[in-house]
């Protein structure tokens, strides 16, 4: 039984840790606290925020999930809490003490495992204890127990590359648990694993947590998987990415453990979180194609291009068209063996182009969207060009090119313009998408060597301006 091993793990290590062991926190005590946390990266116009105005408290006895799409700043928030990166403003405190360096009360489980390939499983697990100066024999005993606990016995002397992904992540867990941190930080720990392995490991971990003898007092879980968040967390903090990472809403999960996925309450909660995640912030525009007046107000900064290729978004449009132009996104994702959030960039792209809109849980194709999905290659290019040329960044590039006598502009020009609103990584992604879309629409061409945009002469682009 797991419990017996757990007790064994807790007793010796609790007495050995030479690092100052604070008294165990009672349920409800605040362990981590972020107040007015802002994180920004340098851009051309000064700082570009990735996280803004985050207030968050992690208490003993709870699992908090940070849920958001990619780019919502959830991993950044986790690293701020762990003291790995500095906050730009605001403060992070551990047990009331402001952080000055790496958080002494946390241990991290990484998405990519972060095992040292040149050390055996046992040596990897011992690392944290070694760093604290625990004597070798005690280290070996504690590590041995953690290895048993996490189901790795027999693998002690194996090297990470001999293990399957699931076994590797078990090493990651054992390594973090053996130091008995107050808060276990998990950065998408299951997303690099296949579905079955992830399910199995999640289940085992929850069993451990529910036993009440988990060697840590709280867990912060970063995930983009809604179901995972609802399954594991007591509290889900949904982060929104527009215009930049803010807490959109915090959802208390009152469900009893172990949680039954088939239960109506579980499903309802998933739907609710899903709506929070896809819904626009209240003050923003109505989803779908905006009216004329609104169109003019769309700016490059306020309308970033989602990271969706033409292939991807037209693939989604065709799938929806096959289902009669309307379908439940969660069901579609399920059928494809994907998470809903994997489809979000494509959904955003279809919305932005006015090809589809969100109605409740359904994605509904618009008239041009249906035409786009069903047309042959040449026609669909024309339809796409007409829609794409209204997108601010594509429009900006097209118009700039038309004003040049030679119809060519260096990419650096747009890069500088975008740098006022985006981080350099985001700028590259914006330009990449704009290049893909513009090329497909035959609005303009891009030469990678001189890094230059050129007008695509006599192409479908002309039709698109009408």
């Amino acid at each position: 039984m797991a419990l017996k091993a757990l007790r064994k793990l807790r007793t010796p290590a609790a007495t050995t840790g030479p690092a100052v062991t604070p008294p165990p926190a009672a349920d409800g005590d605040a362990l981590l606290e972020a107040v007015g946390l802002t994180k920004s990266y340098a851009g051309a116009d000064g700082d570009l925020p990735v996280l803004s105005g985050i207030d968050l408290t992690v208490r003993a006895g709870e699992i908090v999930a940070l849920l958001g799409k990619s780019g919502s700043g959830k991993s950044t928030l986790l690293r701020c809490l762990a003291g790995l990166i500095p906050a730009s403003s605001g403060a992070v405190a551990y047990r009331g003490e402001p952080l000055t360096g790496a958080n002494p009360g946390t241990a991290m489980v990484f998405q990519t495992f972060a095992l040292l390939p040149w050390l055996t499983v046992r040596q990897n697990v011992e690392l944290g204890l070694e760093a604290r100066g625990v004597p070798a024999d005690e280290r070996a005993r504690a590590a041995g127990q953690a290895i048993d606990l996490i189901g790795l016995d027999g693998f002690e002397s194996a090297y990470p590359k001999e293990l399957s992904g699931g076994m590797r992540q078990r090493v990651g867990f054992a390594r973090a648990l053996v130091v008995e941190p107050d808060v276990l930080m998990m950065d998408e720990p299951f997303s690099a694993l296949d579905v079955l392995t992830a399910e199995n490991l999640r289940g085992e971990l929850m069993e451990l947590w529910e036993s009440g003898q988990f060697p840590t007092r709280a867990v912060v879980l970063v995930t983009h998987n809604i179901e995972e968040a609802v399954l594991m967390a007591d509290r889900i903090v949904v982060l929104g990415s527009r215009p930049y990472g803010t807490i959109r809403e915090t959802v208390e999960v009152g469900l009893d453990r172990p949680r039954d996925r088939e239960a109506p309450a579980f499903q309802e909660l998933i739907d609710r979180v899903y709506r929070i995640m896809t819904g626009r912030p209240k003050e923003s525009r109505i989803p779908g194609r905006a009216e004329g007046a609104d169109l003019d107000r769309r700016t490059v900064a306020g309308t970033p291009l989602p990271a969706a290729t033409v292939d991807g978004l037209s693939g989604l449009a065709e799938l929806v068209a096959h289902r009669g132009g309307r379908c439940d996104l969660a069901d579609l994702a399920d059928e494809l063996g994907l998470d809903v959030d994997d489809l979000l960039p494509q959904v955003d792209a279809l919305e932005l182009l006015g090809f589809a809109s969100i109605a409740g849980d359904d994605l509904v194709l618009s008239e041009p969207g249906t035409a786009f999905a069903e047309a042959d290659v040449q026609t669909s290019k024309t339809i796409f060009a007409a829609a794409a040329v209204e997108i601010p960044l594509v429009k900006l590039i097209t118009n700039s090119l038309r004003q040049q006598p030679d119809g060519a502009v260096r990419a650096g020009f747009f890069r500088d313009l975008l740098a006022h609103h985006f981080t350099s990584e985001q700028v590259e992604r914006q330009l990449e998408t704009a290049t893909d879309w513009g090329r497909y629409a035959e609005l303009y061409a891009y030469d990678a060597e001189p890094q230059e945009y050129r007008l695509d002469e006599g192409a479908a682009g002309e039709a698109g301006t009408g």
Binding site: M1, A2, K4, A5, K8, R79, A82, G83, L84, I85, P86, A87, L99, T100, G101, A102, P104, T106, A107, M108, F110, T112, A114, L116, P117, W118, L119, L127, G128, E130, A131, R132, G133, A136, G144, D148, L149, I150, G151, D153, Y159, P160, K161, E162, R168, R175, V179, M185, N200, G203, E204, E207, L208, A448, E449
Partner: protein
């Protein structure tokens, strides 16, 4: 499924486990132990010779009895390995300082870039005078100068490789170290050094290969109109050449070949095979480096026993090194303090450099005037022409051959080790034979010098052409076959673009090597006949022999200028092109 439980199997006490192993000592263990003992004895025995008394007035007589060759070879080898050890220590210190200190990095990295373009041989003079002054009356000064010359040919490459691995440490490993509050010592030895080991070992092997050249060049040298010689293969060959005795030169060449191949087999192959374990990849590789010697060592019990006995030492060191502190970065930096620090550092560094420049300028002005730079600048053009011809001809000859070899796995298996040995075989060893040939045929040294420079430099182009051809994916070749793309079109569309990235690497190394080689190739001697070509290399060599420091400084500075300029204006651009357009 639930977590598996159950305690660890009971363990036998350590002593009985060790005892069990000891009783099963096999003949492998005895062979390994004997080998180590012999090696120790040899190092001690050979090492004694380095502290022999010696005075600068003594005339140098090198004994050219072939029976002395094993001893000479051992002395040479000792020098090579001491230089390698020094390079490793230097690499750790310099690369670590550059990677950890933002301020030092700004100075150290550009300095390294220049240092690796400086013709090392030009500095031998300075080194010899300096080290002899440091160890008066002992041969140790000359030893140090020679080791220093080898060191300067190895260290820069290795330092760059390690610096690169330090700064490009995967983000999650950095976060792992900080999140688990590793000590700085642990981070260095458990994370950073292992992550950099593969780069370090391969670069070390390449640099060691290049080091033979400098060993040969530095064992017998005339500085300030005085001849110095250390016992070693290089000086043996030098003496044999001076006597014009081709038979003895042959013996020396043979010894050299045995050493190069032996070190490769006994040291580098096992080391590269061992370094496989530091590959940061998530799956087992298909092609792994293998070594018979390593397999043999692994079959013995010694590695485990030595490991077990060293572990307490490692632990004690780890405990002691806790004073260096924990791997952590403060979250808040006071911007004014930081700026003041930057400013102070900038002022001090800038001041020192300016002071040095002014002093140098005044020295040159007093001695010769700044016009001293004129002649080497012109002569540099001549040597430059030689380098261009060399690289062009080597490209035309070796790229097709390399491609042919690289496309055939069977040929690659045979040819690659041979080319590797040829590349590390010190070309200056063969110069006497070449001079003998020039004298016979009446070929001018002005043209023949190109040939001499090529003897060492061309192999880099061949080596990289092979590697480049091997890197072209088979499916691309099959697609070309399928489409009927052959002949010129195939070369233009597939082979040349495919080989280009690694050709650039080969080209940059070959041209750098050629500049360095010009110092020994433009002035050559055989049996009392000295041939001198027109060129910057000959200018530096003569300045060295005469102990004419102003001319030496001017020559070395101008050559560095040519090398750096060529790298910046040509090779860097080709690199970027290869990276953006032709990366496979």
């Amino acid at each position: 499924m639930s977590f598996k439980t159950g305690g660890a199997p009971p363990r036998a006490p350590l002593s009985s486990r060790l005892g069990g192993r000891l009783s099963r000592m096999s003949w492998v263990d005895i062979v390994v132990a004997a080998a180590v003992l012999v090696l120790l004895y040899l190092v001690l025995r050979v090492g004694q010779g380095t502290t022999v008394r010696f005075s600068t007035d003594q005339s140098v007589v090198v004994d050219t009895d072939p029976a002395r060759l094993p001893y000479d070879a051992a002395r040479s080898l000792l020098r090579m390995f001491v230089a390698l050890a020094a390079s490793v220590v230097f690499t750790f210190a310099y690369a670590y300082a550059a990677a950890k200190s933002r301020r030092l990095e700004r100075i150290l990295i550009p300095a390294l870039d220049i240092l690796q373009s400086v013709p090392v041989l030009g500095f031998l003079t300075v080194a010899v005078t300096g080290f002899i002054a440091l160890f008066p009356g002992s041969l140790l000064g000359l030893e140090c100068a020679s080791i220093f010359a080898i060191f300067t040919s190895q260290a820069w490459n290795m330092t760059f490789a390690f610096y690169h691995s330090l700064t490009s440490l995967p983000r999650e490993l950095d976060e792992l170290s900080r999140s688990f509050r590793f000590t700085k010592w642990m981070r260095f030895w458990k994370v950073e050094v292992p992550a950099g080991t593969i780069g370090l070992v391969w670069n070390g092997m390449m640099s060691f290969g290049g080091g033979w050249f400098f060993l040969v060049a530095s064992e017998a040298i005339s500085v300030n109109n005085k001849d110095y010689a250390l016992p070693g293969v290089g000086s043996y060959a030098g003496a044999a050449v001076a006597d014009g005795d081709l038979g003895k030169v042959g013996w020396a060449v043979l010894t050299m070949a045995v050493m190069v191949i032996g070190v490769n087999f006994l040291f580098w192959r096992p080391l590269t095979a061992w370094a496989e374990r530091f590959k940061n990849e998530q799956s087992e590789a298909h092609e792994v480096q293998r070594s018979v010697v390593l397999d043999f060592l692994r079959r013995s019990n010694w590695p485990r026993l030595i490991g077990a006995s060293l572990r307490p030492v490692g632990r004690a060191l780890g405990r002691a090194a806790r004073v260096f502190g924990t791997d952590d970065r403060p979250l808040t930096v006071d911007p004014t303090r930081r700026r003041t620090g930057d400013l102070a550092f900038g002022v001090v560094a800038g001041g020192l450099i300016a002071w040095g420049l002014v002093d140098l300028g005044r020295y040159l002005d007093n001695r010769t005037g700044l016009g001293v730079f004129g002649e080497p600048l012109l002569l540099g053009l001549v040597t430059f022409a030689r380098v261009v011809v060399l690289v062009a001809v080597a490209t035309v000859v070796w790229v097709p051959i390399g491609v042919r070899i690289g496309f055939s796995p069977r040929l690659t298996r045979i040819a690659q080790p041979i080319v590797q040995v040829l590349a590390s075989f010190p070309a200056n060893f063969l110069f006497p034979l070449a001079v003998w040939f020039f004298l016979k045929t009446g070929l001018s040294i002005d043209v023949g010098g190109i040939l001499l420079m090529a003897l060492g430099a061309q192999w880099y182009i061949l080596f990289n052409a092979i590697a480049g051809a091997m890197a072209i994916p088979t499916d691309l070749r099959e697609a070309m076959d399928d489409l009927g793309v052959t002949g010129r079109q195939r070369w233009r569309r597939l082979i040349l673009p495919g080989v280009f990235p690694s050709y650039v690497t080969g080209g940059i190394t070959a041209s750098g090597g050629a500049w360095n080689a010009s110092i020994v190739s433009e002035v050559v001697t055989f049996g009392g006949t000295t041939l001198t070509a027109t060129g910057l290399g000959a200018y530096i060599a003569e300045a060295t022999a005469d102990g004419d420091f102003p001319r030496l400084i001017a020559g070395v500075a101008v050559m560095s200028l040519y090398v750096v300029g060529l790298n910046r204006l040509l090779w860097r651009r080709l690199y970027r092109l290869a990276d953006t357009r032709y990366a496979l």
